[in-house]
């Protein structure tokens, strides 16, 4: 899987956000706020093909978490991106 290159992180008033715009006037725009962890993952995985274990590996390197927790968090992060149509 890959982060769709059409999405980019924007800095808005000291927050890091990703905009998912509708294509027609009147469509809802989804604004996704990235926390520090999510931003770290995004920057490290942007432009790369990756799997869940790559995400977990990054979490293990950066944070003091056990293997099980890292995989669960990786799975949750991927799921959230998928739900918002950000992964291809």
């Amino acid at each position: 899987m890959k982060i769709n290159p059409k999405f980019k992180v924007r800095r808005v008033a000291d927050e890091d956000i990703v905009l998912v715009q509708g294509r027609n006037p009147g469509d809802m725009t989804t604004v996704i706020a990235l926390n520090e962890t999510s931003l770290f993952l995004w920057h490290n995985l942007e432009g790369r093909d990756f799997e869940q274990h790559d995400v977990a590996e990054l979490l293990l390197q950066r944070f003091e978490v056990d293997d099980d927790r890292a995989h669960k968090d990786a799975q949750a992060w991927i799921l959230q991106l998928k739900e918002n149509g950000i992964l291809i």
């Binding site: 000291d14 006037p25 604004v31």
Partner: protein
């Protein structure tokens, strides 16, 4: 005959030249008080130019314009944009506008239809405004003691109603614009300018005042106000900026032109605005209490300076 007048819009001098200009100004109303004698325009909008619609450009946005029952198309090719309006009946071209990124001139075809003339000039100013950190905001703008409050909401949510309640309830309150004021960032400070495009209340004022706060309205069975987080504020403000321009986000046109796009500039304007002023969500009834609650929250005064006629009632 080609006629030319200079307008002062968002602090910038715009020369508009058009056949039958005086007739259009009369028919549209509102332009008179924006006329200026400044002979050195920053921007030029020229009607009566040989602009023909593109066939092979990227369609950024297509939408319906109710006022004259027409279909609007906004396109990009390389560093240039086109905006065209076609009648629903007969698919007749009403007007076609062309603009190259960064230029100070917008060329527009001949146009006989008053709503198309008025809206194409609005669109031209939307594009030109990007260069001056200025954008239209679909809102009602109310001024109290030299500061502006922008009320946002989809059409029909009661912007004009709530604005009217402020004018009736709060002494010294004035309407600056009821549909499409300019918001301009001047050294990071958001300033609201009146414009010749106003709505239900045809208030045309060339004045400008700093922005105090932004309030998104929604109808409810009670009155409640809450300050929004940055992310919520972004979600509240973004839909009120020109939606067609927001679609020029560089995604479908990544390989063309300089890579500059309108959405990046609009989002930067939102970012600077959110850094400078708070955004609130007001759930409200169409009553005086809603205006008083909102006013007290924004201006922090426990005593609402009510109109004397109203004071006697309490």
């Amino acid at each position: 005959m080609m006629e030319c007048r200079s307008l002062s819009l968002a602090g910038v001098t715009v020369c508009v030249s058009s056949p039958d200009l005086a007739r259009f100004f009369d028919a549209c109303g509102g332009f008179g008080c924006f006329c200026t004698s400044d002979a050195t325009p920053h921007w030029v909008v020229r009607y009566g130019q040989p602009v023909a619609p593109w066939n092979d450009a990227t369609l950024l946005s297509e939408f319906h314009f109710l006022e004259n029952q027409s279909r609007c198309c906004f396109l990009r090719s390389g560093d240039s944009y086109q905006f065209a309006m076609y009648s629903d009946v007969g698919n007749q071209l009403l007007v076609c506008l062309q603009y190259r990124w960064g230029a100070s001139v917008v060329d527009i075809s001949s146009c006989d239809d008053v709503p198309a003339w008025r809206f194409s000039l609005w669109f031209a100013c939307s594009l030109l405004g990007l260069q001056a950190d200025a954008t239209f905001v679909h809102s009602s703008a109310v001024v109290w003691q030299g500061q502006t409050v922008l009320f946002l909401g989809e059409s029909g949510t009661g912007k004009s109603t709530h604005t009217r309640l402020w004018l009736q309830t709060i002494e010294g309150c004035q309407l600056l614009n009821d549909d499409s004021p300019f918001l301009r960032l001047v050294d990071g400070v958001p300033i609201v300018y009146g414009s010749p495009w106003s709505g239900k209340s045809p208030v045309f004022s060339p004045r400008h005042f700093p922005l105090k706060a932004v309030v998104r309205l929604s109808q409810a069975s009670h009155n409640a106000i809450r300050r929004l987080s940055v992310v919520e504020s972004f979600g509240a403000l973004q839909p009120s900026l020109p939606p067609a321009l927001m679609q020029d986000d560089g995604i479908r046109t990544a390989d063309s032109g300089s890579g500059m796009n309108a959405a990046d500039l609009l989002i930067e304007m939102i970012s600077q605005t959110l850094t400078a002023v708070p955004v609130y969500h007001l759930q409200c009834l169409p009553d005086d209490d809603a205006a008083r609650l909102c006013f007290a929250t924004l201006f922090g005064t426990s005593q609402t300076p009510m109109h004397s006629a109203r004071k006697e009632m309490f």
